[in-house]
Structure formats: C-alpha cells, structure tokens
C-alpha cells in the first residue's frame, strides 16, 4: 500500500496541460510546492472550499440539536460529531487557504454573505428528532460514500491526507446512525411513524447529494479528484439503501420506484431544477442557516481577538 507520508513536492513544473495530464494518468500526486496549472489549482480549491463549508454548516446544525438529544449518551454522540465536523472544516480551510486562491477569512466571509456554496442537505429544515436520525443514517452515509470516492484517487496530496482521517471518522458516524435508526425502527408505532415522516423529508435530499449526472468532460474526473461520476455513486447508494430501508419496514417516498429485469432499483426521474436553486442558497432553510453561521462567527470574534493578541505577545 502506498503510504500517505511521502516526501513533499520539489517544485515540479509541467510544460502544458497535456504534460500535466500524463503525470496524473501515471498516478502522480500534486503537492503544494509544485507549480501546478492554474486551472487545476482553481478547480481543486473550489472543491475543497465547498467541502470545508459543508463540514462547517453540518457541524453547526448538529450543535443545535445537542440540547434536544434524548439522554446523555446521545448528547455525547452529537457533541462528538459536532467536534468532528468543526475539526474537519478547520483542516480543510487550512488546505484551501494554502492554495493561495482565497484566505480563510475570505472563504468564511463569502460563506456568511451567501456568496459560496455548500451541500444541499444543509439547506432544509430538520423538524423533529427523527429528522436527525434520518440525517445521521441517510445523509451521513451519502456524504461518506461521496468522500470515500474522492479519497480513492485524489491527486492533491494535502487533501488526500486530510480525507484519510475524515473518511475514517465519517464511517464511525455511520455506525452511530445505524444504531440510532435501529432503536427507532424497533421502537413504538409513534417512533416508527416519526421516522417514516422524516424519511419523506430526507430521502430525496440524500439521493440528490451526489448531484446531477457528471459532465463526461468534468476536469475533476480527468484530474482524478473525483474517482467516479456522480450518477455511479448515486446509483450505488440507491441500490444499497432501498432494500435496507424496506427491510426495516419503511416506505421509500417514490411511487415510481421499481426493480428492472436485472433486479436493479430504478427511481423516478429527478427534476434537478429545485436542487440548482437550492444550491444557489435559495433552499427552504438556507437563509436561516447562513444567518446562524454568521451570527456564530460574529459572537465568537472576541475569542479570535484574544488568541491573536496572545500569539502576538508570544512572538515579541
């Protein structure tokens, strides 16, 4: 197995994009010290910024549910998940800022001003505790599958190293999600119907997390940041989770759902227009979520000021 602890880039250069593509095709890994093509730098940066924003928005959402989690053990799980997501965001913002496209502060300001993007699943409202279970079971699994597919190749060294730890931790979240779902699924009729309702709200956002079909010319595929097109990941997810949810006795909110002659599950065609509007921060809960994040940032300014001052003093 290739170790992730390899020597850093030695300022490698490429004569043109074709030369760079050959390097990628031969299994090369790009490091911060390399003179990477600007197209690669911009696209990989955008992807990492999106991932970082999503971790931060996810962590803030989970934080809001800590007081509502029933029982000490579930509070402990949500505390730990919140810390994980915020820690992941921190690591990703460090990698992103180092690429020299935007500073960390600029990335955060763009996020809070609604100028940048994050995962679709953080644009909807979680109504009951069962929504949190649906998110932990369905959305964490979708995020895990999507991140694992990026980790599988991922030609940008620092991102790949961070992803290794993120994917391991998201796998841990998934196990918590499975455990929490099992409790509701084997619970009372009220608990089961709460989950069924939450499933109606979260099934489609989870399936749509993988995005519309990839453009076959997507440079992120050619540069092996994405190892598989969106539709392949989405389909694998549907094939796995339809039978699992049905096995627990839940109904998938899709009247057209059926198995084709090969036994593959086919969903109804997806209308991507609402997703596109949502991703431009026009989702049902986008405004409130962004405002919550912005307020969190301004409320904690004094902590950053205090840290900056103590760092300056230490440097004197």
């Amino acid at each position: 197995m290739q170790t992730l602890a390899t020597s850093p880039g030695r300022g490698r250069t490429w004569s043109d994009l074709d030369d760079f593509q050959t390097f990628i095709d031969d299994g090369g890994m790009v490091e911060p010290g390399d003179d990477m093509p600007d197209e690669y730098r911009q696209e990989v940066f955008r992807f990492i910024e999106f991932h970082a924003n999503s971790e931060l928005m996810g962590g803030l959402t989970e934080r809001d549910w800590i007081p509502h989690a029933p029982g000490l053990r579930l509070k402990q799980i949500f505390l730990a998940k919140t810390q994980d997501e915020i820690g992941h965001a921190h690591l990703l913002y460090m990698v992103g800022a180092d690429m020299g496209v935007k500073t960390r502060t600029a990335m955060l300001e763009d996020l809070f001003a609604g100028r940048s993007r994050f995962h679709n699943v953080f644009h909807y409202q979680a109504v009951t505790w069962a929504d949190q279970i649906a998110i932990a079971y369905l959305v964490d699994a979708a995020a895990f599958a999507s991140q694992r597919a990026v980790f599988a190749e991922c030609t940008y060294g620092p991102y790949k190293r961070v992803l290794k730890r993120i994917v391991a931790e998201e796998g841990f979240h998934m196990r918590h999600g499975e455990e929490m779902l099992l409790r509701l699924a084997t619970g009372t009729d009220i608990q089961r119907s709460m989950f069924q309702e939450a499933l109606g709200r979260w099934w489609w956002p989870a399936v749509q997390l993988f995005g519309p079909d990839s453009d076959p010319n997507d440079p992120l595929l050619a540069w092996k940041i994405k190892s598989q097109p969106n539709e392949a990941l989405r389909d694998a997810y549907v094939q796995k989770y339809v039978p699992l949810l049905q096995g627990y006795g839940f109904r998938i909110p899709d009247d057209a759902l059926h198995q084709n002659l090969d036994g593959q599950w086919q969903t109804r065609p997806i209308d991507w227009a609402p997703l596109k509007a949502t991703m431009r921060n026009g989702g049902p809960d986008s405004r409130r979520r962004i405002e919550t994040a912005r307020r969190n940032w301004s409320d904690t300014a004094w902590v950053r000021d205090a840290l900056d001052q103590s760092t300056e003093r230490a440097g004197e």
Partner: protein
C-alpha cells in the same frame, strides 16, 4: 445452564492466548487498521474458568466510541468457541496517555493517518516530510485526543495525539 467447558489451568492458558489475539484484532472505530492494543486501550486480559475478562481504559472519559469498542471486543471474543463468556469493563485507572501507544501503533498512525505524537522534549516532527517546522494551530482537533498543527515545510495540516 449448559455444562461449562472443562477448565483447568492448562486450557485457560491456551484460551488466554486466543482471547488476547481476538482482542488485538479489534480496531479503533476512528482509526480502521489500528488495533486497540496498539493504541494502549487494553489494560488487562484474564481467563477464569473458561470466561474472558477484558479491562479497557478510555483515551478520554466521555469518548463517544466506548460502547462501540466494548461491543466489538465482545463480538470478537464471543466468536471463540472455547470462551464461555466475555466481560468487558472500562477501568477507572490507570489514566491513558499517548505514551501507551506502541511502536507499531505509532508507525501506522504516522504513515497512514499522518498523526504523530509529541517527543519527550515536547518537540514535533512532521510525519510527511520529517521537518521540525511544525506549529500548533488549535488545541482541539476533530477528536478530544488530537490537536491540529501545521507543517510549514511541506504545507500539510497534521494532527498530534495528546
């Protein structure tokens, strides 16, 4: 209750080796590939009259993985045909510290996870490039047992067990 397996000092001794191997096969849920033995979580393994008793210590109290680790140990030991029972206990002491991580554990953490331990003199060496130009960025990382640092030589964020 079923008849307990014939138990004397000799069979308990054989079983003890099997139980130790089963416990060592359990990986930490947050570090797939790293055994809980290598992380220093296993304080004691005993076999008494065919029953296994495993004493574990947590990295941090309040770690959210405790129930999962204990369940994984029970599953691994429960799969042994000779073990009549398996009790897993979280012990109140000794207190875990990063020094308990074995050399093998340190190697896997550094090479696969780019996670390092502080040296005895407090210094840090980057697991990616070997540089000493590593500075702390945040006392809290994604988990309670890790802090975030930055290597200015190879420009990678790394994490430090604490």
């Amino acid at each position: 209750m079923n008849a307990a397996p014939a138990s004397d000092g000799l069979t308990d001794g054989v079983l003890l080796d099997e139980v130790r191997a089963a416990v060592a096969s359990v990986a930490d849920p947050e570090y797939p590939g790293v055994s809980i033995v290598d992380l220093g979580l296993v304080e004691s393994v005993d076999v008494i009259d065919g029953a296994a008793i495993v004493g574990l210590i947590p990295t941090f109290s309040g770690c959210p993985a405790l129930d999962m680790i204990a369940a994984d140990v029970r599953t691994a030991v429960g799969a042994l045909s000779n073990a009549s029972a398996c009790d897993v206990h979280w012990l109140p002491g000794p207190v875990w510290s990063a020094e308990r991580i074995t050399a093998n554990g340190r190697n896997i953490l550094a090479n696969d996870y780019t996670v390092v331990l502080r040296r005895k003199d407090g210094g840090l060496q980057c697991p990616v490039c070997g540089s000493h130009g590593v500075t702390r960025q945040s006392l809290a990382g994604p988990t309670r047992c890790r802090e975030i640092a930055w290597c200015s030589a190879c420009r990678n964020p790394i994490e430090v067990m604490r």
